[in-house]
Amino acid sequence: MQANAIAGPWAAGERILVCISEDPRAAGLVRYTKRLADRLHAPWTAISIETRRSLQLTDEQRDRLADTLRLAEALGGEALTIPGVGRRIADDVIGFAHANNVTQIIIGKSTRSWWFELRRGSVVQDLVRRAGNISVNVIAGEELAAEPVAKKTVRTAERPEPFDPKPYLLSLLVVAVALGVAELIQPYFGIKNVDLVFLTAVVGVAVRFGLWPSLLASVTASLCYNFFFLPPIYTFTITDPTNIAAFFFFMLIAMLVSNVAARVRTQAVSAIGRVRTTESLYAFSRKLAGTATLDDVLWATAYQTALMLKVRVVLLLPEDGVLTVKTGYPPEDRLDKADLAAANWAWGNDRTAGRGSDTLPGAKRLFLPMRTGRGPIGVIGIDDDKTGPLLTPDQRRLLDALVDQGALAIERVLLVEDMDRARRTVESERLRSALLTSISHDLKTPLASVLGAASTMRDLSSGLTDAEKRDLLATVIDESERLNRFIANLLDMTKLESGAIVPNTARHDIGEIVGSALRRASKILVQHKVSLELAADLPMLELDAVLFEQVLFNLLDNAAKYAPADTTISIRSLRDKDQVALQIIDEGDGIPPAELESVFDKFYRAQKGDHVRPGTGLGLAISRGFVEAMHGTISAANRTDRSGAVLTIRLPIPAASDALDTAA
């Protein structure tokens, strides 16, 4: 901003901020903001300012605030709690708004008494006065129905804060030390300065031990100050009126200071707690983001929840309409009847059930529904070894946050799986229709030729010359052989798909297999010239000869199909570092660059105008499957010297392959 000499926020589209509190109508405010944001297509944020008042909220109010923040997140907004640092809440809100280029602030009209506002100031009025170029929308309370936030039906444990006398004793000790120090310095500095020693002690106690010990320290310090230093000493009476004033001011200052110092401490402690929670939630979400499979997400959710709340966790997801245990920490795969009933009730009613709740409290575990903005995902169940309430209110709020994150992560994975499944269905539909086209066209065409030729011979032979008869018979034979190749391809593909191809490899001379493939393909290649350039120094390779011959046959068949008659098909082999490359090079039109990879897809067939070449479109797919089964690779490219395709097979040279060749 400074660099561009723009002062303050610059408008980059609307951005809305909604201020929420523990007020029951805050949820309505959030919903209102969501509607407004949708209309404006604007991003929005809900903030709650944590002031010292926040620390005094009842658990019900805290729950409501947490629920409102979760609601904002569920509705697609950003939810933040920021610590109040300014003198007034409005300062913090405006500060945040400026820093984040907010254009509109939404706040509910206060229902507090004029007396309250006179004392504490009105946030709304402060905001309006100080907002500058940011619009402030004040929503009247009447527009927002107070949302009956579902009362937490789960009993939670009181925060375990048993009386601990140690801080009080220690604060007395500190005062005693201060007394000693004061006695020591009094002869040198005079009575006027000993109160500072006591004040230092009080502040120290306040910062270290909080409000109540520091109040005790204030009182004790005042009494000591009076007893030991204000004349008449060693009595609690004060004779000099100026000393009376000094004593009361000392006491007042001690109390104020301890109050302030204790508040600073509380805020620091709560900030640390918040940072810790945020950190663990962040770590949790990062862990979830890194997981790809449903099992991993479930496991991470269960594990993190168990770890952070010190409870046992089970996760249940619906499977074919039945709620089933998917994972647990520690691992668990079945629930007893009562637990299952509670889990099912929680799932069916989207409410908490089981231990410590209103519904089925007899169950061993407490079950909470996991849901996202889209709907319910599953159920999480927790329990521990103790009896009584499972969680403190803070833990309960943390659990809600964890469950929300877990639910989102599970939904994400489920959506990805759904998409995968949909894609696979489309793919298999496409394959099926391609297969049907292939069978109906490519199998029926040669059959039609055979049938036609044979029936012509039978019915019309009297009118045919010998040459015509020979021609018809040649058609029958050629087309039958074509049919045979198609069927062989379909069989090979089926075998590949079903995983029935187990290469039976041994060391083979690649040239020998090329030779036998050429012999088998000789009929197909009659109209082409074949040139062979096999390097003489090739080592034997680890191959399944039958599969490899079929690969070569398919490639030669392909080349013969796409390269015009009387052109040359070259077979070239060479050693390339630790591989042997074998290339089938033709002089056809080549392969469109965009399709160099898809030629290996099942049922791919080169298109020429609207004419599709005959063939099952399986030859190259089978070749790739076979070559990969033999740990090789196959790729397609175009010639650079002229038009034409180059199919390259690369096979690894086995270790110590030359020994035998030289020995023999």
Binding site: L491, K495, A506, R507, H508, E512, V514, G515, S516
Partner: protein, 229 residues
Amino acid sequence: MNATPIKVLVIDDEPPIRKLLRMGLSTQGYEILEASNGKIALEMLAQDPALIILDLGLPDIQGHELLRMIRGRNDSVPIVVLSSRGDEAGKVQALDLGADDYLTKPFGMDELLARMRAALRHQLQVHGERPVFRSGDLSVDLVRRIVKVGDKEVKLSPKEYELLRVLVQHAGKVLTHRFLLKELWDELTDAQYLRVYVRQLRQKIEVDPERPQFVLTETGIGYRLRAPD
């Protein structure tokens, strides 16, 4: 052809195939006996066929089992098995069990006749071996141990000559890797040795060793020497 026709037993459960073989083979002067299953086939053995064509996929008796049973009763009659593509292991097994050759369905009549001739020729040769084998430009004088391609004499190492001799003795017939290994070394030798020697033999007797005309590879099965003229 001959005055006494050669009896061929066709064992196949498909009537159209039997009919085709009957028609095709009759024109070549063979006399055809037909069996639609293994049981009938075993009975037909009594009629002493000179050659058997056996489909390995029969309804009642598993093909290899029937082959074993036939060999149990008659260890010299040439047998040509019909098998489906892709079943190289089944073919090798059949050859090891004593079949003389195999054909992959579907096949042409010319191929079948060539296989039958090779199988019958070998049986005749067992009795009277011809001293000089000729096929195209290749001639092998088994008595004087002279190998020629055209007019040029070819020097072969003892092992190469052994290999060629075994091939010549079964010219036109497929020989499995295992059979050749057993003849030349022993059964446990790695087939790689065989491939190396075949390559060397081809370098010496083939015009274009990459596209052999004499020593043909039967991928996944073994080798076959071109039939004599």
